[in-house]
Symmetry: D2
Subunit: 154 residues, 4 copies
């Protein structure tokens, strides 16, 4: 889907430690036993195991939890390209559920589609792994905002 492919230069050379520190402050990531497994300029992947406590009525992971890891992956993909001192906020996201969220673990990947001074648009997807088979279960588009000069610390 990308005839116009772009590699991104991070504005902050120290982006990795900045993303890792912010991720570590997301208490929900600890609650979900989620971990950062990929962190490149404009691209972040998060893995979490299946979690019975987070299921919906059919025993699948709740769509909102799929949205949670996809939103964080997109947010940190955007954040990796922001200048030092900036904070990131989710403006909006859309999630399409492509298949029930069953599997032993789930990997959400966020990628920057279009970085901007104020707004950054990201694509996200979530893969389920089941007995070493992977299937795409969700697709996200998210708009992230760069926040600077406020009292929010990231």
């Amino acid at each position: 889907m990308s005839p116009v492919s772009v590699a991104f230069d991070p504005r902050d050379p120290d982006f990795r430690s900045r993303v890792q520190a912010s991720f570590a402050r997301q208490q929900i990531m600890t609650t979900l036993h989620a971990e950062l497994i990929e962190l490149e300029p404009g691209k972040v992947s998060i893995r979490m195991p299946f979690n019975q406590a987070m299921t919906q009525q059919h025993g699948y992971l709740h769509a909102g939890i799929i949205g949670t890891i996809a939103d964080s992956a997109c947010g940190y993909a955007a954040f990796s390209l922001m200048p030092a001192g900036a904070a990131v906020l989710s403006v909006e996201y859309k999630l399409n559920l492509l298949a029930p969220a069953e599997g032993q673990e789930f990997i959400a990947t966020g990628q920057v589609l279009k970085p901007g001074r104020t707004l950054t648009v990201c694509d996200g997807e979530v893969i389920a792994l089941s007995n070493n088979q992977q299937s795409r279960i969700a697709s996200m588009t998210a708009t992230m905002m760069t926040v600077t000069g406020r009292d929010i610390q990231d």
Copy 2:
């Protein structure tokens, strides 16, 4: 926003117990200490308290958890109008975050905008309550699907 207002007749007179039973099977609702506080044909509200374990990097409730309760509220609003024996699945949802999710508790309300045989479109919103002040923090549009004759039990 509703010059075309409609009251909905549930196709299943026993819709309340059906929604309540399905809600009780969503383990994530128990995990979030969430409860059904309103259940009318085509309209459902869910309340949850602030939860430190579900926060993002600034200490607010993670946008994905806001999405979780809004998605369940929309899903059960749709489900309340479905025939007995049907199951509900989320096809897609879009969430706009209007303000940081801070407050002592959060109420998500889902309302059916357009019911359909296969697809039902719902509006959702999430309100934060802080010292008896309420503010709207999120808005959702969700598409729900009626599933019948499959091995999914609701």
Copy 3:
């Protein structure tokens, strides 16, 4: 859907003439024979007649044209609350098609849900009128951006 209802004060007392002038510059509105039929702070309605030249394969108005008038209604609802000298740009919108776009005329209404310094979130809906019966055929959520100090003139 609005327990938190708000009336908006326009920051520019001359907002009406500013919106009307910008609307008049949208050549597509002339092409669609569309007209502004309501213009209040944070609320705008646009009416257009059925247009054979804008139809899809079944003879209904194309979803993209429904999106066009809903996007303009949302954009001008946001623009009505912006300060003098600002321009408005669409960041993103989501459109749910609730019924085929058949009818003699169509009215799109945009309303500000949450105004902001940079971003304004709007709800939109489109009504079809057929033999004096009206039905809601589409629902939109749109994010609009206030642009200032650039070379864009509105």
Copy 4:
């Protein structure tokens, strides 16, 4: 963005003539001087020239027209995989505007992300061409519905 890549087998070997015939019935495509320039199983591209009559207040193509060609590209990408005798309807789409729609011509490409018996999810993007330079100006996610056994002819 696609670790899970899939090639699609059309269920109807005659899908090309079916898509072309339906495209020819979209009067808006004629109005926009739009043409099908790519038609593969699950992938469709549509090109249209800049059109002064379809512009917004700054002289760019209106976002709704960008949405129109992206929606048709996504719809026909989905339609290419549907069985003979089926019709396609847009359920919903979300459009992110990445840059102003300026250029001599515009190419919208729709690709099936997940085909389904009832619903098909598609990714779309729109490229602007200006003096042989191309830039991505919009990104879409769309949900399309297979309609059979009704009085709609495609």
